[in-house]
Symmetry: C2
Protein backbone atom coordinates (compact mmCIF):
# COMPACT_ATOMS: atom_id res chain seq x y z
CA UNK A 1 0.00 0.00 0.00
CA UNK A 2 2.04 2.83 -1.36
CA UNK A 3 1.15 6.48 -1.06
CA UNK A 4 -1.60 7.95 -3.18
CA UNK A 5 -2.09 11.52 -4.35
CA UNK A 6 -5.24 13.49 -3.62
CA UNK A 7 -6.32 13.01 -7.21
CA UNK A 8 -5.70 9.28 -7.14
CA UNK A 9 -7.65 8.94 -3.90
CA UNK A 10 -10.58 10.82 -5.39
CA UNK A 11 -10.62 8.54 -8.43
CA UNK A 12 -10.35 5.42 -6.26
CA UNK A 13 -13.23 6.52 -4.09
CA UNK A 14 -15.45 7.36 -7.06
CA UNK A 15 -14.73 4.03 -8.73
CA UNK A 16 -15.60 2.31 -5.46
CA UNK A 17 -18.98 4.03 -5.28
CA UNK A 18 -19.78 3.39 -8.95
CA UNK A 19 -18.91 -0.30 -8.81
CA UNK A 20 -21.42 -0.80 -6.00
CA UNK A 21 -24.12 -0.38 -8.63
CA UNK A 22 -22.70 -1.35 -12.00
CA UNK A 23 -20.32 -4.24 -11.33
CA UNK A 24 -18.14 -3.04 -14.17
CA UNK A 25 -17.52 0.69 -14.42
CA UNK A 26 -17.11 2.57 -17.71
CA UNK A 27 -15.00 5.56 -18.59
CA UNK A 28 -17.77 8.04 -19.30
CA UNK A 29 -19.69 7.54 -16.07
CA UNK A 30 -16.52 8.02 -14.07
CA UNK A 31 -15.77 11.18 -16.05
CA UNK A 32 -19.24 12.52 -15.20
CA UNK A 33 -18.91 11.55 -11.54
CA UNK A 34 -15.51 13.22 -11.27
CA UNK A 35 -16.45 16.27 -13.28
CA UNK A 36 -13.65 15.72 -15.73
CA UNK A 37 -13.05 14.54 -19.31
CA UNK A 38 -12.96 10.91 -20.49
CA UNK A 39 -9.40 11.36 -21.77
CA UNK A 40 -8.25 12.32 -18.27
CA UNK A 41 -9.99 9.27 -16.86
CA UNK A 42 -8.18 6.96 -19.26
CA UNK A 43 -4.84 8.46 -18.22
CA UNK A 44 -5.60 7.80 -14.58
CA UNK A 45 -6.88 4.26 -15.26
CA UNK A 46 -3.51 3.36 -16.73
CA UNK A 47 -1.75 4.70 -13.68
CA UNK A 48 -4.02 2.87 -11.24
CA UNK A 49 -3.62 -0.35 -13.18
CA UNK A 50 0.14 0.02 -13.06
CA UNK A 51 -0.10 0.52 -9.30
CA UNK A 52 -1.95 -2.80 -9.13
CA UNK A 53 -5.11 -1.31 -7.72
CA UNK A 54 -7.37 -1.78 -10.69
CA UNK A 55 -8.64 -4.54 -12.98
CA UNK A 56 -8.67 -2.85 -16.36
CA UNK A 57 -8.59 -4.01 -19.99
CA UNK A 58 -8.74 -1.39 -22.72
CA UNK A 59 -12.28 -0.75 -23.95
CA UNK A 60 -13.67 -3.36 -21.53
CA UNK A 61 -14.46 -1.39 -18.40
CA UNK A 62 -12.76 -1.64 -15.03
CA UNK A 63 -13.18 -2.24 -11.31
CA UNK A 64 -11.05 -2.04 -8.17
CA UNK A 65 -9.29 -5.21 -7.04
CA UNK A 66 -9.07 -6.16 -3.36
CA UNK A 67 -6.15 -3.79 -2.74
CA UNK A 68 -8.02 -0.98 -4.40
CA UNK A 69 -11.13 -1.61 -2.37
CA UNK A 70 -9.10 -1.48 0.83
CA UNK A 71 -7.72 1.91 -0.10
CA UNK A 72 -11.17 3.16 -1.09
CA UNK A 73 -12.54 2.08 2.27
CA UNK A 74 -9.91 4.02 4.21
CA UNK A 75 -10.82 7.14 2.26
CA UNK A 76 -14.54 6.56 2.79
CA UNK A 77 -13.89 5.98 6.48
CA UNK A 78 -12.00 9.25 6.80
CA UNK A 79 -14.65 11.13 4.81
CA UNK A 80 -17.51 9.93 6.98
CA UNK A 81 -15.70 10.34 10.29
CA UNK A 82 -14.90 13.94 9.39
CA UNK A 83 -18.50 14.49 8.32
CA UNK A 84 -19.63 13.20 11.68
CA UNK A 85 -17.23 15.54 13.45
CA UNK A 86 -18.36 18.53 11.42
CA UNK A 87 -22.07 17.92 12.03
CA UNK A 88 -21.96 16.58 15.54
CA UNK A 89 -19.19 18.60 17.18
CA UNK A 90 -18.90 21.77 15.13
CA UNK A 91 -22.63 22.12 14.48
CA UNK A 92 -22.61 22.18 10.68
CA UNK A 93 -25.87 21.48 8.89
CA UNK A 94 -25.78 18.10 7.19
CA UNK A 95 -25.85 19.63 3.70
CA UNK A 96 -22.61 21.55 4.35
CA UNK A 97 -20.37 18.76 5.58
CA UNK A 98 -19.70 16.90 2.36
CA UNK A 99 -17.65 19.57 0.57
CA UNK A 100 -15.38 20.09 3.55
CA UNK A 101 -14.93 16.36 4.17
CA UNK A 102 -13.94 16.08 0.53
CA UNK A 103 -10.76 17.90 1.52
CA UNK A 104 -10.28 16.48 5.01
CA UNK A 105 -10.46 12.89 3.78
CA UNK A 106 -6.97 13.30 2.25
CA UNK A 107 -5.12 14.09 5.48
CA UNK A 108 -2.69 11.22 5.71
CA UNK A 109 -2.05 10.46 9.39
CA UNK A 110 -3.38 7.04 10.46
CA UNK A 111 -2.99 7.96 14.09
CA UNK A 112 -5.11 11.06 13.56
CA UNK A 113 -8.03 9.13 12.19
CA UNK A 114 -7.86 6.52 14.92
CA UNK A 115 -7.82 9.17 17.64
CA UNK A 116 -10.61 11.07 15.93
CA UNK A 117 -12.67 7.88 15.78
CA UNK A 118 -12.25 7.34 19.52
CA UNK A 119 -12.86 11.00 20.31
CA UNK A 120 -16.17 10.83 18.45
CA UNK A 121 -17.16 7.64 20.27
CA UNK A 122 -16.62 5.27 17.34
CA UNK A 123 -19.77 6.27 15.49
CA UNK A 124 -21.30 3.80 13.03
CA UNK A 125 -23.13 6.19 10.72
CA UNK A 126 -22.36 9.58 9.24
CA UNK A 127 -24.82 12.53 9.22
CA UNK A 128 -26.42 11.23 6.01
CA UNK A 129 -26.97 7.83 7.57
CA UNK A 130 -24.19 6.20 5.55
CA UNK A 131 -22.19 3.53 7.38
CA UNK A 132 -18.66 4.33 8.58
CA UNK A 133 -16.19 1.50 7.86
CA UNK A 134 -14.10 0.53 10.90
CA UNK A 135 -10.30 0.47 10.81
CA UNK A 136 -10.33 -2.98 9.20
CA UNK A 137 -12.71 -1.87 6.48
CA UNK A 138 -15.75 -3.61 7.93
CA UNK A 139 -18.97 -1.79 7.18
CA UNK A 140 -21.76 -1.87 9.75
CA UNK A 141 -24.89 -3.08 8.05
CA UNK A 142 -28.35 -1.91 8.91
CA UNK A 143 -31.22 -3.63 7.18
CA UNK A 144 -33.10 -0.67 5.90
CA UNK A 145 -35.98 -0.24 3.55
CA UNK A 146 -37.13 2.50 1.24
CA UNK A 147 -39.82 4.68 2.82
CA UNK A 148 -41.84 4.38 -0.40
CA UNK A 149 -42.42 0.66 0.31
CA UNK A 150 -42.28 0.65 4.12
CA UNK A 151 -45.22 -0.66 6.19
CA UNK A 152 -48.05 1.65 7.12
CA UNK A 153 -48.85 2.65 10.71
CA UNK A 154 -45.60 1.39 12.16
CA UNK A 155 -42.95 3.51 13.89
CA UNK A 156 -40.10 3.98 11.42
CA UNK A 157 -36.68 5.49 12.07
CA UNK A 158 -35.05 7.45 9.27
CA UNK A 159 -31.68 5.84 8.67
CA UNK A 160 -30.32 7.38 5.49
CA UNK A 161 -30.96 9.54 2.47
CA UNK A 162 -29.81 8.57 -0.99
CA UNK A 163 -29.89 11.87 -2.80
CA UNK A 164 -27.63 14.21 -0.85
CA UNK A 165 -27.86 17.33 -2.97
CA UNK A 166 -28.42 20.64 -1.25
CA UNK A 167 -31.86 20.85 -2.96
CA UNK A 168 -32.97 17.55 -1.46
CA UNK A 169 -31.60 18.32 1.97
CA UNK A 170 -33.26 21.72 1.91
CA UNK A 171 -36.56 19.96 1.27
CA UNK A 172 -36.03 17.47 4.07
CA UNK A 173 -35.12 20.26 6.42
CA UNK A 174 -38.47 21.88 5.61
CA UNK A 175 -40.29 18.69 6.61
CA UNK A 176 -37.99 18.41 9.67
CA UNK A 177 -36.92 14.98 8.50
CA UNK A 178 -33.48 14.08 9.84
CA UNK A 179 -31.45 10.95 10.31
CA UNK A 180 -32.90 9.37 13.45
CA UNK A 181 -36.33 10.98 13.13
CA UNK A 182 -39.30 8.79 14.10
CA UNK A 183 -42.30 8.80 11.82
CA UNK A 184 -45.35 6.81 10.82
CA UNK A 185 -46.92 6.42 7.41
CA UNK A 186 -50.61 7.32 7.70
CA UNK A 187 -51.76 6.62 4.15
CA UNK A 188 -50.73 6.46 0.50
CA UNK A 189 -52.29 8.42 -2.35
CA UNK A 190 -52.53 6.33 -5.48
CA UNK A 191 -53.05 9.37 -7.69
CA UNK A 192 -49.37 10.44 -7.68
CA UNK A 193 -47.75 8.00 -5.26
CA UNK A 194 -47.45 10.64 -2.54
CA UNK A 195 -47.98 9.68 1.09
CA UNK A 196 -49.18 11.24 4.28
CA UNK A 197 -46.78 10.85 7.20
CA UNK A 198 -46.58 12.11 10.75
CA UNK A 199 -43.30 12.88 12.51
CA UNK A 200 -43.11 12.47 16.26
CA UNK A 201 -44.66 15.54 17.90
CA UNK A 202 -45.49 17.16 14.58
CA UNK A 203 -48.58 17.67 12.48
CA UNK A 204 -49.11 15.23 9.61
CA UNK A 205 -47.84 16.24 6.19
CA UNK A 206 -47.73 14.93 2.65
CA UNK A 207 -44.50 14.08 0.87
CA UNK A 208 -44.12 13.30 -2.82
CA UNK A 209 -43.08 9.95 -4.24
CA UNK A 210 -39.64 11.21 -5.36
CA UNK A 211 -38.98 12.33 -1.80
CA UNK A 212 -40.16 9.04 -0.30
CA UNK A 213 -38.00 7.11 -2.75
CA UNK A 214 -34.88 8.86 -1.42
CA UNK A 215 -35.52 8.26 2.25
CA UNK A 216 -34.59 4.98 3.91
CA UNK A 217 -35.89 3.78 7.24
CA UNK A 218 -35.49 0.89 9.63
CA UNK A 219 -37.84 -0.61 12.21
CA UNK A 220 -37.74 -3.58 14.54
Amino acid sequence: MTNFSVSEENYIKSIYHLQQDTHTVNTNSLAVEMNTKPASVTDMLKKLKQKKILQYEKYKGFRLNENGKKIALTVVRKHRLWEFFLANNLGFEWDKVHAIAEELEHISSQELIQKLDNYLGNPSFDPHGDPIPDKHGNIPHLKQRCLAIAPINKTLIVSSVTNQTAEMLDMLKHYKIKIGSSLKIIRHFTFDGSMEIRLLKNAACVISDPVAKNVFVHYD
Copy 2:
Protein backbone atom coordinates in the same frame (compact mmCIF):
# COMPACT_ATOMS: atom_id res chain seq x y z
CA MET B 1 -7.45 37.70 -2.00
CA THR B 2 -7.36 35.03 -4.65
CA ASN B 3 -6.87 31.35 -4.05
CA PHE B 4 -3.50 29.92 -3.18
CA SER B 5 -2.16 26.43 -3.73
CA VAL B 6 -0.79 24.29 -0.91
CA SER B 7 2.71 24.99 -2.14
CA GLU B 8 2.17 28.73 -2.33
CA GLU B 9 0.71 28.76 1.18
CA ASN B 10 3.71 26.89 2.52
CA TYR B 11 6.09 29.38 0.94
CA ILE B 12 4.10 32.34 2.21
CA LYS B 13 4.08 30.97 5.74
CA SER B 14 7.81 30.27 5.70
CA ILE B 15 8.63 33.72 4.39
CA TYR B 16 6.46 35.18 7.12
CA HIS B 17 8.36 33.32 9.84
CA LEU B 18 11.77 34.17 8.37
CA GLN B 19 11.03 37.87 8.01
CA GLN B 20 10.23 38.10 11.72
CA ASP B 21 13.97 37.75 12.34
CA THR B 22 15.82 38.99 9.28
CA HIS B 23 13.76 41.91 8.01
CA THR B 24 14.80 41.00 4.47
CA VAL B 25 14.77 37.34 3.55
CA ASN B 26 17.22 35.71 1.15
CA THR B 27 16.79 32.87 -1.29
CA ASN B 28 19.07 30.34 0.33
CA SER B 29 17.61 30.53 3.81
CA LEU B 30 14.12 30.05 2.40
CA ALA B 31 15.38 27.07 0.40
CA VAL B 32 16.80 25.53 3.59
CA GLU B 33 13.61 26.26 5.55
CA MET B 34 11.43 24.72 2.84
CA ASN B 35 13.71 21.78 2.18
CA THR B 36 13.99 22.62 -1.49
CA LYS B 37 16.48 24.09 -3.98
CA PRO B 38 17.27 27.80 -4.44
CA ALA B 39 16.19 27.59 -8.09
CA SER B 40 12.74 26.42 -7.04
CA VAL B 41 12.53 29.28 -4.59
CA THR B 42 13.32 31.83 -7.29
CA ASP B 43 10.56 30.39 -9.46
CA MET B 44 8.06 30.75 -6.65
CA LEU B 45 9.23 34.26 -5.78
CA LYS B 46 8.39 35.41 -9.29
CA LYS B 47 4.96 33.91 -8.99
CA LEU B 48 4.25 35.48 -5.60
CA LYS B 49 5.49 38.83 -6.84
CA GLN B 50 3.18 38.60 -9.82
CA LYS B 51 0.30 37.82 -7.46
CA LYS B 52 1.15 41.05 -5.60
CA ILE B 53 1.95 39.34 -2.36
CA LEU B 54 5.66 39.93 -2.26
CA GLN B 55 8.15 42.80 -2.39
CA TYR B 56 10.97 41.37 -4.46
CA GLU B 57 13.82 42.76 -6.55
CA LYS B 58 16.20 40.36 -8.25
CA TYR B 59 19.30 39.64 -6.15
CA LYS B 60 18.12 42.00 -3.42
CA GLY B 61 16.10 39.79 -1.10
CA PHE B 62 12.37 39.90 -0.48
CA ARG B 63 9.58 40.23 2.07
CA LEU B 64 5.80 39.88 2.19
CA ASN B 65 3.73 43.01 1.67
CA GLU B 66 0.60 43.73 3.73
CA ASN B 67 -1.54 41.44 1.57
CA GLY B 68 1.01 38.66 1.89
CA LYS B 69 1.17 39.04 5.65
CA LYS B 70 -2.60 38.77 5.88
CA ILE B 71 -2.55 35.50 3.97
CA ALA B 72 0.33 34.19 6.08
CA LEU B 73 -1.60 34.99 9.23
CA THR B 74 -4.64 33.03 8.12
CA VAL B 75 -2.44 30.01 7.49
CA VAL B 76 -0.67 30.41 10.83
CA ARG B 77 -4.05 30.77 12.52
CA LYS B 78 -5.30 27.55 10.97
CA HIS B 79 -2.08 25.72 11.77
CA ARG B 80 -2.15 26.65 15.44
CA LEU B 81 -5.87 26.09 15.93
CA TRP B 82 -5.52 22.60 14.50
CA GLU B 83 -2.49 21.98 16.72
CA PHE B 84 -4.57 23.01 19.70
CA PHE B 85 -7.33 20.63 18.67
CA LEU B 86 -4.92 17.75 18.17
CA ALA B 87 -3.24 18.20 21.54
CA ASN B 88 -6.18 19.31 23.62
CA ASN B 89 -9.07 17.29 22.23
CA LEU B 90 -7.47 14.27 20.57
CA GLY B 91 -4.72 13.84 23.17
CA PHE B 92 -1.70 14.03 20.89
CA GLU B 93 1.68 14.73 22.49
CA TRP B 94 2.90 18.21 21.62
CA ASP B 95 5.77 16.92 19.51
CA LYS B 96 3.38 15.07 17.17
CA VAL B 97 0.97 17.85 16.30
CA HIS B 98 3.10 19.95 13.98
CA ALA B 99 3.41 17.48 11.11
CA ILE B 100 -0.32 16.84 11.00
CA ALA B 101 -1.22 20.53 11.27
CA GLU B 102 1.13 21.10 8.33
CA GLU B 103 -1.53 19.32 6.24
CA LEU B 104 -4.66 20.51 8.03
CA GLU B 105 -3.67 24.18 7.67
CA HIS B 106 -4.52 24.00 3.95
CA ILE B 107 -8.18 23.05 4.32
CA SER B 108 -9.91 25.98 2.71
CA SER B 109 -13.28 26.51 4.42
CA GLN B 110 -13.46 29.80 6.35
CA GLU B 111 -16.57 28.65 8.12
CA LEU B 112 -14.79 25.53 9.30
CA ILE B 113 -12.00 27.42 10.96
CA GLN B 114 -14.38 29.86 12.63
CA LYS B 115 -16.51 27.03 14.02
CA LEU B 116 -13.42 25.16 15.12
CA ASP B 117 -12.18 28.27 16.90
CA ASN B 118 -15.45 28.57 18.82
CA TYR B 119 -15.60 24.86 19.53
CA LEU B 120 -12.14 25.04 21.09
CA GLY B 121 -13.15 28.06 23.19
CA ASN B 122 -11.17 30.63 21.18
CA PRO B 123 -7.78 29.65 22.52
CA SER B 124 -4.98 32.23 22.49
CA PHE B 125 -1.95 29.94 22.44
CA ASP B 126 -1.09 26.68 20.71
CA PRO B 127 0.47 23.66 22.45
CA HIS B 128 3.95 25.11 21.92
CA GLY B 129 2.91 28.39 23.52
CA ASP B 130 2.84 30.24 20.22
CA PRO B 131 0.08 32.84 19.89
CA ILE B 132 -2.96 32.10 17.71
CA PRO B 133 -3.94 35.05 15.49
CA ASP B 134 -7.65 35.88 15.67
CA LYS B 135 -9.85 36.10 12.58
CA HIS B 136 -8.65 39.66 11.91
CA GLY B 137 -5.01 38.63 12.13
CA ASN B 138 -4.42 40.16 15.54
CA ILE B 139 -1.86 38.28 17.56
CA PRO B 140 -2.24 38.08 21.34
CA HIS B 141 0.97 39.27 22.86
CA LEU B 142 2.43 37.92 26.07
CA LYS B 143 5.53 39.63 27.37
CA GLN B 144 7.81 36.71 27.88
CA ARG B 145 11.45 36.33 28.65
CA CYS B 146 14.07 33.70 27.96
CA LEU B 147 14.54 31.32 30.89
CA ALA B 148 18.32 31.78 30.53
CA ILE B 149 18.04 35.41 31.67
CA ALA B 150 14.94 35.19 33.89
CA PRO B 151 15.08 36.25 37.53
CA ILE B 152 16.18 33.79 40.17
CA ASN B 153 13.89 32.53 42.95
CA LYS B 154 10.70 33.82 41.37
CA THR B 155 7.75 31.70 40.23
CA LEU B 156 7.95 31.47 36.45
CA ILE B 157 5.36 30.05 34.06
CA VAL B 158 6.60 28.32 30.93
CA SER B 159 4.94 30.08 28.00
CA SER B 160 6.67 28.79 24.88
CA VAL B 161 9.51 26.83 23.40
CA THR B 162 11.51 28.08 20.45
CA ASN B 163 13.09 24.89 19.16
CA GLN B 164 10.23 22.53 18.43
CA THR B 165 12.14 19.55 17.11
CA ALA B 166 11.23 16.10 18.36
CA GLU B 167 14.67 15.89 20.01
CA MET B 168 14.11 19.03 22.03
CA LEU B 169 10.58 18.11 23.01
CA ASP B 170 11.73 14.66 24.05
CA MET B 171 14.22 16.33 26.37
CA LEU B 172 11.61 18.66 27.85
CA LYS B 173 9.28 15.74 28.38
CA HIS B 174 12.01 14.07 30.41
CA TYR B 175 12.28 17.13 32.66
CA LYS B 176 8.45 17.29 32.75
CA ILE B 177 8.59 20.83 31.42
CA LYS B 178 5.36 21.73 29.61
CA ILE B 179 3.66 24.91 28.51
CA GLY B 180 2.04 26.22 31.66
CA SER B 181 4.47 24.52 34.07
CA SER B 182 5.46 26.54 37.14
CA LEU B 183 9.13 26.57 38.10
CA LYS B 184 11.75 28.53 40.00
CA ILE B 185 15.41 29.06 39.18
CA ILE B 186 17.47 28.03 42.19
CA ARG B 187 20.96 28.91 40.97
CA HIS B 188 23.20 29.34 37.94
CA PHE B 189 26.44 27.50 37.29
CA THR B 190 28.98 29.78 35.68
CA PHE B 191 31.13 26.86 34.52
CA ASP B 192 28.86 25.91 31.58
CA GLY B 193 25.93 28.26 31.96
CA SER B 194 23.67 25.47 33.21
CA MET B 195 21.11 26.17 35.92
CA GLU B 196 19.37 24.37 38.72
CA ILE B 197 15.60 24.67 38.64
CA ARG B 198 12.72 23.20 40.58
CA LEU B 199 9.35 22.44 39.05
CA LEU B 200 6.27 22.63 41.24
CA LYS B 201 6.04 19.40 43.28
CA ASN B 202 9.20 17.95 41.77
CA ALA B 203 12.77 17.48 42.87
CA ALA B 204 15.29 20.07 41.70
CA CYS B 205 17.19 19.34 38.51
CA VAL B 206 19.89 20.88 36.36
CA ILE B 207 19.26 21.94 32.76
CA SER B 208 21.89 22.98 30.25
CA ASP B 209 22.27 26.44 28.79
CA PRO B 210 21.05 25.35 25.29
CA VAL B 211 17.87 24.04 26.90
CA ALA B 212 17.34 27.19 28.95
CA LYS B 213 17.88 29.36 25.88
CA ASN B 214 14.97 27.63 24.14
CA VAL B 215 12.45 27.95 26.93
CA PHE B 216 10.48 31.15 27.43
CA VAL B 217 8.62 32.09 30.59
CA HIS B 218 6.42 34.82 31.92
CA TYR B 219 5.81 36.09 35.45
CA ASP B 220 3.86 38.90 37.03
